[in-house]
Amino acid sequence: MNAVWPHLPAWQVVIPLLGAALVAFLRHSGAAFAVALAVSWLMPLIAGAMLWQVLATGPISYHLGSWPPPWGIEYRVDVLSGFVLVLVSAVGAVVMPFARRSVAFEVEDGQQAWFYCMYLLCLTGLLGIVITGDAFNAFVFLEVSSLSTYVLVALGRDRRALLAAFQYLILGTIGATFYIIGVGLLYLLTGSLNMVDIAARLGPEWADHSRAIVAALAFITVGVSLKLALFPLHAWLPNAYAYAPSWVTVFLSATATKVAIYLLVRYYFSIFGVAIEFRDLPETEIILVLSVAAMFVASLIAVFQTDLKRMLAYSSVAQIGYITLGIGLANQAGLTGGLVHIVNHALMKAALFLAVGAIFFRVRSVRLPDLAGIGRRMPVTMTAFTIGCLGLVGTPGTSGFISKWYLALGAFDKGWWVLVFLIVGSSLIALVYVGRVLEVVWLREPSAAIADASDPPLSMLLPLVVLAAATIYFGFDTGWTAGIADIAARDLLGGLR
Protein backbone atom coordinates (compact mmCIF):
# COMPACT_ATOMS: atom_id res chain seq x y z
CA MET A 1 0.00 0.00 0.00
CA ASN A 2 2.96 2.28 0.62
CA ALA A 3 3.72 2.29 -3.09
CA VAL A 4 0.31 3.82 -3.80
CA TRP A 5 -0.97 5.90 -0.93
CA PRO A 6 1.79 8.57 -0.58
CA HIS A 7 2.05 8.92 -4.37
CA LEU A 8 -1.60 9.66 -5.14
CA PRO A 9 -0.85 13.18 -6.46
CA ALA A 10 1.57 11.75 -9.02
CA TRP A 11 -0.79 8.92 -10.03
CA GLN A 12 -3.50 11.47 -10.66
CA VAL A 13 -1.50 12.88 -13.58
CA VAL A 14 0.64 9.91 -14.60
CA ILE A 15 -2.20 7.41 -15.09
CA PRO A 16 -4.07 9.39 -17.78
CA LEU A 17 -0.73 10.23 -19.44
CA LEU A 18 0.27 6.56 -19.62
CA GLY A 19 -3.28 5.74 -20.72
CA ALA A 20 -2.90 8.16 -23.63
CA ALA A 21 0.36 6.51 -24.67
CA LEU A 22 -1.21 3.05 -24.38
CA VAL A 23 -4.16 4.11 -26.53
CA ALA A 24 -1.77 5.52 -29.13
CA PHE A 25 -0.15 2.08 -29.40
CA LEU A 26 -3.41 0.11 -29.39
CA ARG A 27 -5.07 2.07 -32.22
CA HIS A 28 -8.23 0.01 -31.85
CA SER A 29 -11.34 2.02 -31.08
CA GLY A 30 -12.93 -0.55 -28.74
CA ALA A 31 -9.73 -1.10 -26.76
CA ALA A 32 -9.12 2.65 -26.70
CA PHE A 33 -12.55 3.22 -25.21
CA ALA A 34 -11.93 0.53 -22.60
CA VAL A 35 -8.68 2.19 -21.52
CA ALA A 36 -10.28 5.65 -21.46
CA LEU A 37 -13.20 4.31 -19.40
CA ALA A 38 -10.92 2.53 -16.91
CA VAL A 39 -8.77 5.64 -16.47
CA SER A 40 -11.80 7.94 -16.18
CA TRP A 41 -13.36 5.75 -13.48
CA LEU A 42 -10.10 5.51 -11.55
CA MET A 43 -9.52 9.28 -11.45
CA PRO A 44 -12.37 10.30 -9.11
CA LEU A 45 -11.29 7.60 -6.64
CA ILE A 46 -7.81 9.12 -6.44
CA ALA A 47 -9.11 12.69 -6.35
CA GLY A 48 -11.72 11.78 -3.74
CA ALA A 49 -9.13 10.05 -1.55
CA MET A 50 -6.92 13.14 -1.71
CA LEU A 51 -9.77 15.55 -0.93
CA TRP A 52 -10.76 13.37 2.03
CA GLN A 53 -7.15 13.41 3.26
CA VAL A 54 -6.94 17.21 2.81
CA LEU A 55 -10.15 17.82 4.72
CA ALA A 56 -8.91 15.58 7.52
CA THR A 57 -5.27 16.62 7.85
CA GLY A 58 -4.59 19.75 5.79
CA PRO A 59 -2.87 20.37 2.41
CA ILE A 60 -0.81 17.64 0.74
CA SER A 61 2.57 18.64 -0.62
CA TYR A 62 4.11 16.09 -2.97
CA HIS A 63 7.73 16.53 -4.06
CA LEU A 64 8.30 15.16 -7.55
CA GLY A 65 11.55 13.21 -7.68
CA SER A 66 12.01 13.99 -3.96
CA TRP A 67 13.36 17.45 -4.81
CA PRO A 68 12.06 19.73 -2.06
CA PRO A 69 10.25 22.91 -3.10
CA PRO A 70 11.00 25.61 -4.12
CA TRP A 71 13.76 23.94 -6.17
CA GLY A 72 11.81 20.96 -7.36
CA ILE A 73 8.32 20.83 -8.80
CA GLU A 74 5.73 20.54 -6.06
CA TYR A 75 2.29 19.03 -6.47
CA ARG A 76 0.08 20.70 -3.95
CA VAL A 77 -3.47 19.70 -3.07
CA ASP A 78 -5.46 21.99 -0.82
CA VAL A 79 -9.21 22.22 -0.35
CA LEU A 80 -9.76 24.29 -3.51
CA SER A 81 -7.61 22.14 -5.81
CA GLY A 82 -9.01 18.93 -4.31
CA PHE A 83 -12.51 20.28 -4.93
CA VAL A 84 -11.77 21.06 -8.59
CA LEU A 85 -9.91 17.75 -9.08
CA VAL A 86 -12.93 15.83 -7.87
CA LEU A 87 -15.21 17.86 -10.14
CA VAL A 88 -13.10 17.36 -13.29
CA SER A 89 -12.48 13.67 -12.72
CA ALA A 90 -16.07 12.95 -11.66
CA VAL A 91 -17.51 14.68 -14.72
CA GLY A 92 -15.09 12.70 -16.90
CA ALA A 93 -16.16 9.45 -15.22
CA VAL A 94 -19.90 10.13 -15.45
CA VAL A 95 -19.99 11.23 -19.09
CA MET A 96 -17.48 8.66 -20.41
CA PRO A 97 -20.03 5.86 -21.04
CA PHE A 98 -21.92 8.29 -23.29
CA ALA A 99 -18.85 8.62 -25.50
CA ARG A 100 -18.86 5.10 -27.03
CA ARG A 101 -21.97 5.45 -29.19
CA SER A 102 -21.81 9.20 -29.63
CA VAL A 103 -18.21 9.13 -30.85
CA ALA A 104 -18.83 6.09 -33.06
CA PHE A 105 -21.70 8.05 -34.61
CA GLU A 106 -19.91 11.37 -35.10
CA VAL A 107 -16.21 10.61 -35.60
CA GLU A 108 -14.75 8.64 -38.52
CA ASP A 109 -13.75 5.04 -37.76
CA GLY A 110 -10.01 5.49 -38.25
CA GLN A 111 -9.91 8.49 -35.92
CA GLN A 112 -11.77 7.09 -32.92
CA ALA A 113 -8.71 5.65 -31.15
CA TRP A 114 -6.96 9.00 -31.59
CA PHE A 115 -10.03 10.69 -30.21
CA TYR A 116 -9.68 8.79 -26.93
CA CYS A 117 -5.92 9.39 -26.95
CA MET A 118 -6.53 13.15 -27.20
CA TYR A 119 -9.20 12.98 -24.51
CA LEU A 120 -6.79 11.31 -22.10
CA LEU A 121 -4.08 13.89 -22.86
CA CYS A 122 -6.62 16.65 -22.28
CA LEU A 123 -7.57 15.06 -18.96
CA THR A 124 -3.88 14.85 -18.03
CA GLY A 125 -3.43 18.54 -18.74
CA LEU A 126 -6.55 19.64 -16.88
CA LEU A 127 -5.77 17.60 -13.76
CA GLY A 128 -2.14 18.73 -13.96
CA ILE A 129 -3.05 22.44 -13.98
CA VAL A 130 -5.11 21.97 -10.85
CA ILE A 131 -2.68 19.81 -8.93
CA THR A 132 0.62 21.54 -9.67
CA GLY A 133 2.11 24.11 -7.34
CA ASP A 134 4.57 25.36 -9.93
CA ALA A 135 3.72 28.33 -12.14
CA PHE A 136 5.66 27.15 -15.18
CA ASN A 137 4.51 23.57 -14.82
CA ALA A 138 0.97 24.94 -14.95
CA PHE A 139 1.80 26.53 -18.33
CA VAL A 140 3.03 23.21 -19.72
CA PHE A 141 -0.14 21.44 -18.56
CA LEU A 142 -2.23 24.32 -19.90
CA GLU A 143 -0.72 23.72 -23.33
CA VAL A 144 -1.01 19.92 -23.08
CA SER A 145 -4.74 20.28 -22.45
CA SER A 146 -5.20 23.08 -25.00
CA LEU A 147 -3.36 21.38 -27.87
CA SER A 148 -5.36 18.19 -27.39
CA THR A 149 -8.54 20.27 -27.18
CA TYR A 150 -7.81 21.88 -30.57
CA VAL A 151 -7.54 18.39 -32.07
CA LEU A 152 -10.76 17.26 -30.40
CA VAL A 153 -12.63 20.28 -31.75
CA ALA A 154 -11.21 19.73 -35.24
CA LEU A 155 -12.56 16.14 -35.25
CA GLY A 156 -16.10 17.47 -35.80
CA ARG A 157 -17.65 16.35 -39.11
CA ASP A 158 -18.54 19.85 -40.31
CA ARG A 159 -15.73 21.66 -42.13
CA ARG A 160 -16.42 24.70 -39.95
CA ALA A 161 -15.04 22.64 -37.05
CA LEU A 162 -11.59 23.07 -38.65
CA LEU A 163 -12.00 26.82 -38.74
CA ALA A 164 -13.27 26.88 -35.15
CA ALA A 165 -10.27 24.81 -34.05
CA PHE A 166 -7.89 27.14 -35.86
CA GLN A 167 -9.39 30.24 -34.29
CA TYR A 168 -9.30 28.54 -30.90
CA LEU A 169 -5.65 27.65 -31.50
CA ILE A 170 -4.71 31.24 -32.31
CA LEU A 171 -6.55 32.76 -29.35
CA GLY A 172 -5.62 29.96 -26.97
CA THR A 173 -1.94 30.31 -27.83
CA ILE A 174 -2.06 34.07 -27.39
CA GLY A 175 -3.65 33.44 -23.98
CA ALA A 176 -1.00 30.91 -22.97
CA THR A 177 1.79 33.21 -24.16
CA PHE A 178 0.36 36.12 -22.16
CA TYR A 179 0.29 33.78 -19.18
CA ILE A 180 3.97 32.87 -19.46
CA ILE A 181 4.97 36.49 -20.00
CA GLY A 182 3.28 37.18 -16.66
CA VAL A 183 5.00 34.20 -15.05
CA GLY A 184 8.32 35.39 -16.53
CA LEU A 185 7.89 38.83 -14.97
CA LEU A 186 7.03 37.21 -11.63
CA TYR A 187 10.12 35.02 -11.90
CA LEU A 188 12.32 38.04 -12.65
CA LEU A 189 10.88 39.80 -9.61
CA THR A 190 10.99 36.96 -7.09
CA GLY A 191 13.41 34.40 -8.48
CA SER A 192 10.95 31.60 -7.82
CA LEU A 193 8.39 29.58 -9.74
CA ASN A 194 6.79 27.76 -6.82
CA MET A 195 3.41 29.36 -6.16
CA VAL A 196 3.67 29.20 -2.37
CA ASP A 197 7.23 30.51 -2.51
CA ILE A 198 6.28 33.39 -4.84
CA ALA A 199 3.51 34.37 -2.43
CA ALA A 200 5.98 34.27 0.48
CA ARG A 201 8.52 36.41 -1.37
CA LEU A 202 5.93 38.97 -2.52
CA GLY A 203 5.53 40.75 0.79
CA PRO A 204 3.13 43.65 1.28
CA GLU A 205 6.10 45.98 0.68
CA TRP A 206 5.70 45.21 -3.03
CA ALA A 207 2.27 46.78 -3.16
CA ASP A 208 2.07 49.87 -5.36
CA HIS A 209 5.86 50.17 -5.54
CA SER A 210 6.54 47.91 -8.45
CA ARG A 211 4.97 48.49 -11.82
CA ALA A 212 6.36 45.14 -12.94
CA ILE A 213 4.15 43.23 -10.52
CA VAL A 214 1.06 45.05 -11.79
CA ALA A 215 2.18 44.21 -15.35
CA ALA A 216 2.57 40.56 -14.33
CA LEU A 217 -0.91 40.61 -12.81
CA ALA A 218 -2.32 42.20 -15.98
CA PHE A 219 -0.64 39.70 -18.32
CA ILE A 220 -1.78 36.71 -16.27
CA THR A 221 -5.32 38.09 -15.97
CA VAL A 222 -5.67 38.60 -19.73
CA GLY A 223 -4.00 35.29 -20.59
CA VAL A 224 -6.12 33.19 -18.26
CA SER A 225 -9.27 35.17 -19.11
CA LEU A 226 -8.77 34.19 -22.76
CA LYS A 227 -8.65 30.54 -21.70
CA LEU A 228 -11.72 30.80 -19.48
CA ALA A 229 -13.66 32.83 -22.08
CA LEU A 230 -14.36 35.85 -19.90
CA PHE A 231 -16.46 38.33 -21.87
CA PRO A 232 -15.25 39.97 -24.21
CA LEU A 233 -12.47 37.41 -24.72
CA HIS A 234 -14.96 34.65 -25.48
CA ALA A 235 -14.82 34.87 -29.29
CA TRP A 236 -13.45 31.34 -29.72
CA LEU A 237 -16.01 29.63 -27.53
CA PRO A 238 -19.33 29.62 -29.44
CA ASN A 239 -17.85 28.20 -32.65
CA ALA A 240 -15.65 25.69 -30.85
CA TYR A 241 -18.60 24.39 -28.82
CA ALA A 242 -21.03 24.45 -31.73
CA TYR A 243 -18.93 22.48 -34.26
CA ALA A 244 -16.98 20.12 -32.00
CA PRO A 245 -18.32 16.54 -31.69
CA SER A 246 -21.18 16.49 -29.15
CA TRP A 247 -19.24 14.62 -26.50
CA VAL A 248 -16.28 17.01 -26.75
CA THR A 249 -18.61 19.92 -26.09
CA VAL A 250 -19.94 18.15 -23.00
CA PHE A 251 -16.47 17.54 -21.62
CA LEU A 252 -15.06 20.97 -22.48
CA SER A 253 -18.00 22.97 -21.15
CA ALA A 254 -17.84 21.11 -17.85
CA THR A 255 -14.08 21.09 -17.30
CA ALA A 256 -11.77 23.19 -19.50
CA THR A 257 -13.09 26.66 -18.68
CA LYS A 258 -13.58 25.66 -15.04
CA VAL A 259 -9.92 24.72 -14.69
CA ALA A 260 -8.88 28.08 -16.16
CA ILE A 261 -11.13 29.77 -13.60
CA TYR A 262 -9.36 27.77 -10.90
CA LEU A 263 -6.04 29.13 -12.16
CA LEU A 264 -7.34 32.71 -12.03
CA VAL A 265 -8.60 32.22 -8.47
CA ARG A 266 -5.28 30.70 -7.48
CA TYR A 267 -3.34 33.69 -8.82
CA TYR A 268 -5.68 36.33 -7.50
CA PHE A 269 -6.07 35.08 -3.96
CA SER A 270 -3.16 32.78 -3.20
CA ILE A 271 -0.37 34.65 -5.00
CA PHE A 272 -1.16 38.29 -5.76
CA GLY A 273 -3.58 38.65 -2.87
CA VAL A 274 -0.64 38.36 -0.51
CA ALA A 275 1.29 41.21 -2.05
CA ILE A 276 -1.33 43.67 -3.12
CA GLU A 277 -4.20 44.99 -1.08
CA PHE A 278 -6.57 43.19 -3.35
CA ARG A 279 -9.67 45.23 -2.70
CA ASP A 280 -7.94 48.47 -3.58
CA LEU A 281 -6.81 47.49 -7.05
CA PRO A 282 -9.24 48.11 -9.91
CA GLU A 283 -8.80 44.46 -10.96
CA THR A 284 -11.86 43.34 -9.05
CA GLU A 285 -13.97 46.17 -10.43
CA ILE A 286 -12.85 45.31 -13.97
CA ILE A 287 -13.76 41.66 -13.40
CA LEU A 288 -17.12 42.69 -11.92
CA VAL A 289 -18.04 44.91 -14.86
CA LEU A 290 -17.00 42.29 -17.41
CA SER A 291 -18.93 39.61 -15.51
CA VAL A 292 -22.11 41.64 -15.49
CA ALA A 293 -21.61 42.42 -19.19
CA ALA A 294 -21.19 38.70 -19.87
CA MET A 295 -24.36 37.87 -17.94
CA PHE A 296 -26.42 40.27 -20.03
CA VAL A 297 -24.80 40.45 -23.47
CA ALA A 298 -24.15 36.72 -23.87
CA SER A 299 -27.63 35.87 -22.55
CA LEU A 300 -29.20 38.32 -25.02
CA ILE A 301 -27.22 36.80 -27.90
CA ALA A 302 -28.35 33.34 -26.76
CA VAL A 303 -31.99 34.42 -27.10
CA PHE A 304 -31.55 34.85 -30.87
CA GLN A 305 -29.81 31.55 -31.67
CA THR A 306 -31.57 28.82 -33.62
CA ASP A 307 -28.82 26.24 -33.19
CA LEU A 308 -29.30 24.60 -29.79
CA LYS A 309 -25.59 23.94 -29.24
CA ARG A 310 -24.67 27.50 -30.08
CA MET A 311 -27.39 28.83 -27.80
CA LEU A 312 -26.02 26.78 -24.91
CA ALA A 313 -22.49 27.94 -25.78
CA TYR A 314 -23.51 31.59 -25.38
CA SER A 315 -25.31 30.59 -22.21
CA SER A 316 -21.97 29.17 -21.00
CA VAL A 317 -20.32 32.55 -21.54
CA ALA A 318 -23.08 34.12 -19.44
CA GLN A 319 -22.78 31.50 -16.72
CA ILE A 320 -18.99 31.95 -16.59
CA GLY A 321 -19.90 35.57 -15.86
CA TYR A 322 -21.64 34.44 -12.65
CA ILE A 323 -18.55 32.54 -11.56
CA THR A 324 -16.19 35.47 -12.20
CA LEU A 325 -18.73 37.72 -10.48
CA GLY A 326 -18.02 35.74 -7.33
CA ILE A 327 -14.28 36.30 -7.84
CA GLY A 328 -14.88 40.01 -8.36
CA LEU A 329 -16.95 40.29 -5.19
CA ALA A 330 -14.01 38.86 -3.25
CA ASN A 331 -15.91 38.35 0.00
CA GLN A 332 -16.87 35.16 1.81
CA ALA A 333 -20.39 34.67 0.47
CA GLY A 334 -19.57 35.97 -3.01
CA LEU A 335 -16.51 33.79 -3.49
CA THR A 336 -18.38 30.77 -2.13
CA GLY A 337 -21.11 31.46 -4.69
CA GLY A 338 -18.55 31.67 -7.50
CA LEU A 339 -16.79 28.46 -6.47
CA VAL A 340 -20.00 26.53 -5.94
CA HIS A 341 -21.24 27.67 -9.34
CA ILE A 342 -18.13 26.08 -10.87
CA VAL A 343 -19.54 22.72 -9.81
CA ASN A 344 -23.22 23.48 -10.31
CA HIS A 345 -22.73 24.93 -13.78
CA ALA A 346 -20.45 22.06 -14.78
CA LEU A 347 -23.10 19.50 -13.81
CA MET A 348 -26.09 21.23 -15.39
CA LYS A 349 -24.27 22.24 -18.57
CA ALA A 350 -22.90 18.73 -18.97
CA ALA A 351 -26.46 17.43 -18.64
CA LEU A 352 -27.73 19.94 -21.22
CA PHE A 353 -25.01 19.21 -23.77
CA LEU A 354 -25.47 15.45 -23.21
CA ALA A 355 -29.16 15.89 -24.01
CA VAL A 356 -28.18 17.82 -27.14
CA GLY A 357 -25.77 15.01 -28.04
CA ALA A 358 -28.56 12.48 -27.59
CA ILE A 359 -30.87 14.54 -29.80
CA PHE A 360 -28.20 14.72 -32.50
CA PHE A 361 -27.70 10.94 -32.18
CA ARG A 362 -31.39 10.36 -32.97
CA VAL A 363 -32.40 13.29 -35.18
CA ARG A 364 -29.07 14.35 -36.80
CA SER A 365 -29.95 17.97 -36.22
CA VAL A 366 -29.89 20.35 -33.29
CA ARG A 367 -31.58 23.24 -35.07
CA LEU A 368 -34.55 24.47 -33.09
CA PRO A 369 -37.11 24.38 -35.97
CA ASP A 370 -36.35 20.66 -36.52
CA LEU A 371 -37.02 19.81 -32.91
CA ALA A 372 -40.69 20.74 -32.60
CA GLY A 373 -42.46 18.34 -30.24
CA ILE A 374 -39.35 16.23 -29.58
CA GLY A 375 -40.32 16.08 -25.92
CA ARG A 376 -43.02 13.55 -26.77
CA ARG A 377 -40.61 11.35 -28.72
CA MET A 378 -37.67 11.48 -26.28
CA PRO A 379 -39.41 12.10 -22.93
CA VAL A 380 -36.58 11.05 -20.58
CA THR A 381 -33.93 12.99 -22.49
CA MET A 382 -36.03 16.12 -22.64
CA THR A 383 -37.05 15.88 -18.98
CA ALA A 384 -33.36 15.87 -18.04
CA PHE A 385 -32.84 18.74 -20.48
CA THR A 386 -35.65 20.67 -18.81
CA ILE A 387 -34.13 20.14 -15.37
CA GLY A 388 -30.82 21.48 -16.70
CA CYS A 389 -32.64 24.49 -18.15
CA LEU A 390 -34.33 25.22 -14.82
CA GLY A 391 -30.91 25.05 -13.21
CA LEU A 392 -29.59 27.63 -15.68
CA VAL A 393 -32.37 30.02 -14.77
CA GLY A 394 -31.74 29.43 -11.07
CA THR A 395 -35.15 28.06 -10.11
CA PRO A 396 -35.43 27.21 -6.40
CA GLY A 397 -34.98 23.47 -5.95
CA THR A 398 -32.13 23.27 -8.42
CA SER A 399 -28.43 23.78 -7.78
CA GLY A 400 -28.43 26.97 -9.87
CA PHE A 401 -30.51 28.64 -7.19
CA ILE A 402 -27.89 27.88 -4.52
CA SER A 403 -25.14 29.59 -6.54
CA LYS A 404 -27.22 32.69 -7.19
CA TRP A 405 -28.35 32.79 -3.58
CA TYR A 406 -24.73 32.97 -2.39
CA LEU A 407 -23.82 35.53 -5.09
CA ALA A 408 -26.74 37.71 -4.05
CA LEU A 409 -25.67 37.36 -0.40
CA GLY A 410 -22.18 38.46 -1.42
CA ALA A 411 -23.62 41.52 -3.16
CA PHE A 412 -25.78 42.26 -0.07
CA ASP A 413 -22.72 42.09 2.17
CA LYS A 414 -21.11 44.76 0.02
CA GLY A 415 -24.30 46.79 0.11
CA TRP A 416 -24.61 46.68 -3.67
CA TRP A 417 -28.36 46.39 -4.15
CA VAL A 418 -28.12 47.13 -7.84
CA LEU A 419 -26.01 44.04 -8.35
CA VAL A 420 -28.70 41.87 -6.75
CA PHE A 421 -31.23 43.21 -9.24
CA LEU A 422 -28.78 42.62 -12.08
CA ILE A 423 -28.36 38.97 -11.01
CA VAL A 424 -32.13 38.52 -10.97
CA GLY A 425 -32.53 40.46 -14.23
CA SER A 426 -30.03 38.32 -16.12
CA SER A 427 -31.80 35.21 -14.82
CA LEU A 428 -34.97 36.52 -16.45
CA ILE A 429 -33.15 36.73 -19.79
CA ALA A 430 -32.04 33.14 -19.23
CA LEU A 431 -35.72 32.32 -18.68
CA VAL A 432 -36.46 33.80 -22.11
CA TYR A 433 -33.94 31.75 -24.09
CA VAL A 434 -34.68 28.61 -22.12
CA GLY A 435 -38.45 29.14 -22.34
CA ARG A 436 -38.24 29.53 -26.09
CA VAL A 437 -36.66 26.09 -26.42
CA LEU A 438 -38.95 24.41 -23.91
CA GLU A 439 -42.02 25.80 -25.70
CA VAL A 440 -40.84 24.30 -29.00
CA VAL A 441 -39.87 20.89 -27.65
CA TRP A 442 -42.87 20.29 -25.38
CA LEU A 443 -45.85 22.23 -26.69
CA ARG A 444 -45.56 21.94 -30.48
CA GLU A 445 -46.94 19.01 -32.47
CA PRO A 446 -44.16 16.56 -33.44
CA SER A 447 -43.20 16.94 -37.09
CA ALA A 448 -42.80 14.04 -39.51
CA ALA A 449 -39.01 14.43 -39.51
CA ILE A 450 -38.73 13.21 -35.94
CA ALA A 451 -41.45 10.57 -36.16
CA ASP A 452 -39.09 7.65 -35.45
CA ALA A 453 -36.98 9.40 -32.81
CA SER A 454 -36.85 7.81 -29.36
CA ASP A 455 -34.81 7.95 -26.17
CA PRO A 456 -31.21 6.86 -26.73
CA PRO A 457 -29.75 3.56 -25.42
CA LEU A 458 -29.09 3.15 -21.70
CA SER A 459 -25.35 3.90 -21.91
CA MET A 460 -26.22 7.39 -23.15
CA LEU A 461 -29.32 7.86 -21.04
CA LEU A 462 -27.75 6.96 -17.70
CA PRO A 463 -25.05 9.72 -17.57
CA LEU A 464 -27.74 12.21 -18.55
CA VAL A 465 -30.11 11.10 -15.80
CA VAL A 466 -27.31 11.03 -13.22
CA LEU A 467 -26.28 14.62 -14.02
CA ALA A 468 -29.87 15.88 -14.05
CA ALA A 469 -30.46 14.16 -10.71
CA ALA A 470 -27.29 15.78 -9.35
CA THR A 471 -28.61 19.19 -10.43
CA ILE A 472 -31.70 18.61 -8.29
CA TYR A 473 -29.85 16.88 -5.45
CA PHE A 474 -27.32 19.68 -5.00
CA GLY A 475 -30.22 22.10 -4.91
CA PHE A 476 -31.29 20.54 -1.61
CA ASP A 477 -28.18 19.03 -0.04
CA THR A 478 -25.41 21.59 -0.29
CA GLY A 479 -23.00 19.97 2.18
CA TRP A 480 -20.75 18.61 -0.57
CA THR A 481 -20.80 21.64 -2.83
CA ALA A 482 -21.39 24.84 -0.87
CA GLY A 483 -19.92 23.32 2.30
CA ILE A 484 -16.53 22.59 0.73
CA ALA A 485 -16.63 25.78 -1.38
CA ASP A 486 -17.16 27.69 1.86
CA ILE A 487 -14.01 26.16 3.41
CA ALA A 488 -12.05 26.84 0.20
CA ALA A 489 -13.23 30.47 0.11
CA ARG A 490 -12.24 30.92 3.76
CA ASP A 491 -8.76 29.55 2.96
CA LEU A 492 -8.40 31.85 -0.04
CA LEU A 493 -9.59 34.99 1.71
CA GLY A 494 -7.41 34.13 4.71
CA GLY A 495 -4.38 34.50 2.42
CA LEU A 496 -5.22 38.15 1.71
CA ARG A 497 -3.42 40.74 3.77
Binding site: F136, F139, V140, E143, L147, Y150, V151, A154, R159, R160, L162, L163, A165, F166, L169, I170, T173, I174, A176, T177, I180, I181, G184, Y187, L188, L193
Partner: protein, 121 residues
Protein backbone atom coordinates in the same frame (compact mmCIF):
# COMPACT_ATOMS: atom_id res chain seq x y z
CA UNK B 1 11.63 59.82 -15.46
CA UNK B 2 13.18 57.22 -17.75
CA UNK B 3 16.10 58.74 -19.60
CA UNK B 4 17.82 57.81 -22.82
CA UNK B 5 20.59 56.21 -20.76
CA UNK B 6 18.05 53.96 -19.02
CA UNK B 7 16.67 52.99 -22.37
CA UNK B 8 20.07 52.13 -23.82
CA UNK B 9 20.96 50.18 -20.71
CA UNK B 10 17.82 48.09 -21.10
CA UNK B 11 17.84 47.92 -24.89
CA UNK B 12 17.26 44.16 -24.82
CA UNK B 13 13.85 44.71 -23.25
CA UNK B 14 13.05 47.10 -26.10
CA UNK B 15 13.94 44.35 -28.59
CA UNK B 16 11.75 41.86 -26.70
CA UNK B 17 8.79 44.23 -26.64
CA UNK B 18 9.28 45.12 -30.32
CA UNK B 19 9.22 41.42 -31.28
CA UNK B 20 6.22 40.80 -29.03
CA UNK B 21 4.17 43.60 -30.58
CA UNK B 22 5.25 42.69 -34.12
CA UNK B 23 4.08 39.13 -33.62
CA UNK B 24 0.80 40.09 -32.01
CA UNK B 25 0.11 42.69 -34.71
CA UNK B 26 0.66 40.14 -37.48
CA UNK B 27 -1.72 37.68 -35.80
CA UNK B 28 -4.43 40.33 -35.55
CA UNK B 29 -3.93 42.15 -38.84
CA UNK B 30 -3.30 39.34 -41.35
CA UNK B 31 -6.09 37.30 -42.88
CA UNK B 32 -3.79 34.66 -44.35
CA UNK B 33 -3.67 31.76 -41.94
CA UNK B 34 -0.03 30.84 -42.57
CA UNK B 35 1.01 34.44 -41.95
CA UNK B 36 -1.03 34.40 -38.75
CA UNK B 37 0.95 31.37 -37.59
CA UNK B 38 4.21 33.10 -38.50
CA UNK B 39 3.11 36.05 -36.35
CA UNK B 40 2.20 33.68 -33.55
CA UNK B 41 5.64 32.12 -33.77
CA UNK B 42 7.34 35.53 -33.56
CA UNK B 43 5.15 36.39 -30.57
CA UNK B 44 6.22 33.21 -28.79
CA UNK B 45 9.87 33.76 -29.71
CA UNK B 46 9.85 37.12 -27.94
CA UNK B 47 9.05 35.25 -24.72
CA UNK B 48 12.20 33.15 -25.09
CA UNK B 49 14.15 36.39 -25.16
CA UNK B 50 12.27 37.75 -22.15
CA UNK B 51 13.33 34.75 -20.07
CA UNK B 52 16.83 34.08 -21.36
CA UNK B 53 18.29 37.63 -21.51
CA UNK B 54 18.19 38.41 -17.77
CA UNK B 55 19.51 34.91 -17.02
CA UNK B 56 22.64 35.27 -19.15
CA UNK B 57 25.59 36.94 -17.44
CA UNK B 58 28.47 38.03 -19.64
CA UNK B 59 31.45 35.85 -18.82
CA UNK B 60 29.25 33.52 -16.77
CA UNK B 61 29.62 29.77 -17.13
CA UNK B 62 27.37 26.83 -16.51
CA UNK B 63 26.75 26.38 -12.76
CA UNK B 64 29.45 23.79 -12.04
CA UNK B 65 31.21 24.04 -8.69
CA UNK B 66 34.85 24.63 -9.52
CA UNK B 67 37.35 27.00 -7.93
CA UNK B 68 38.27 28.34 -11.36
CA UNK B 69 34.85 29.89 -11.94
CA UNK B 70 32.95 32.35 -9.79
CA UNK B 71 30.39 33.83 -12.18
CA UNK B 72 27.52 31.61 -13.26
CA UNK B 73 24.59 32.09 -15.61
CA UNK B 74 21.21 31.01 -14.27
CA UNK B 75 20.41 27.71 -16.00
CA UNK B 76 16.75 27.52 -15.00
CA UNK B 77 15.31 30.02 -17.52
CA UNK B 78 17.33 28.38 -20.29
CA UNK B 79 15.78 25.02 -19.45
CA UNK B 80 12.30 26.53 -19.14
CA UNK B 81 12.65 27.98 -22.60
CA UNK B 82 13.66 24.60 -24.03
CA UNK B 83 10.26 23.40 -22.80
CA UNK B 84 8.56 26.50 -24.19
CA UNK B 85 10.25 25.94 -27.57
CA UNK B 86 8.89 22.39 -27.66
CA UNK B 87 5.41 23.69 -26.84
CA UNK B 88 5.81 26.35 -29.56
CA UNK B 89 6.89 23.78 -32.16
CA UNK B 90 3.91 21.57 -31.29
CA UNK B 91 1.53 24.53 -31.56
CA UNK B 92 2.85 25.63 -34.95
CA UNK B 93 2.85 22.04 -36.25
CA UNK B 94 -0.76 21.55 -35.19
CA UNK B 95 -1.69 24.97 -36.60
CA UNK B 96 -0.12 24.18 -39.98
CA UNK B 97 -1.82 20.77 -40.03
CA UNK B 98 -5.16 22.51 -39.47
CA UNK B 99 -4.36 24.97 -42.27
CA UNK B 100 -3.69 22.05 -44.63
CA UNK B 101 -7.05 20.51 -43.71
CA UNK B 102 -8.78 23.89 -44.09
CA UNK B 103 -7.20 24.31 -47.51
CA UNK B 104 -8.50 20.86 -48.53
CA UNK B 105 -12.00 21.64 -47.23
CA UNK B 106 -12.37 25.21 -48.51
CA UNK B 107 -9.75 25.60 -51.26
CA UNK B 108 -8.37 28.78 -49.67
CA UNK B 109 -6.56 29.87 -46.53
CA UNK B 110 -7.69 33.51 -46.59
CA UNK B 111 -9.97 34.08 -43.61
CA UNK B 112 -12.31 36.61 -45.24
CA UNK B 113 -12.92 34.33 -48.26
CA UNK B 114 -13.73 31.44 -45.92
CA UNK B 115 -16.16 33.57 -43.93
CA UNK B 116 -17.89 34.55 -47.19
CA UNK B 117 -18.16 30.88 -48.23
CA UNK B 118 -19.70 29.89 -44.90
CA UNK B 119 -22.15 32.77 -45.04
CA UNK B 120 -23.42 31.65 -48.46
CA UNK B 121 -24.13 28.08 -47.36
Amino acid sequence: MPTLADFIEHYHYAITIFLMMTGLYIVVARGNMVKKLVGLSIFQTSVYLLYVEPAKIIGGTAPIIDPAFTVYSNPLPHVLMLTAIVVGVATIALGLALVVRINEAYGTIEEDEIFDMDRDT
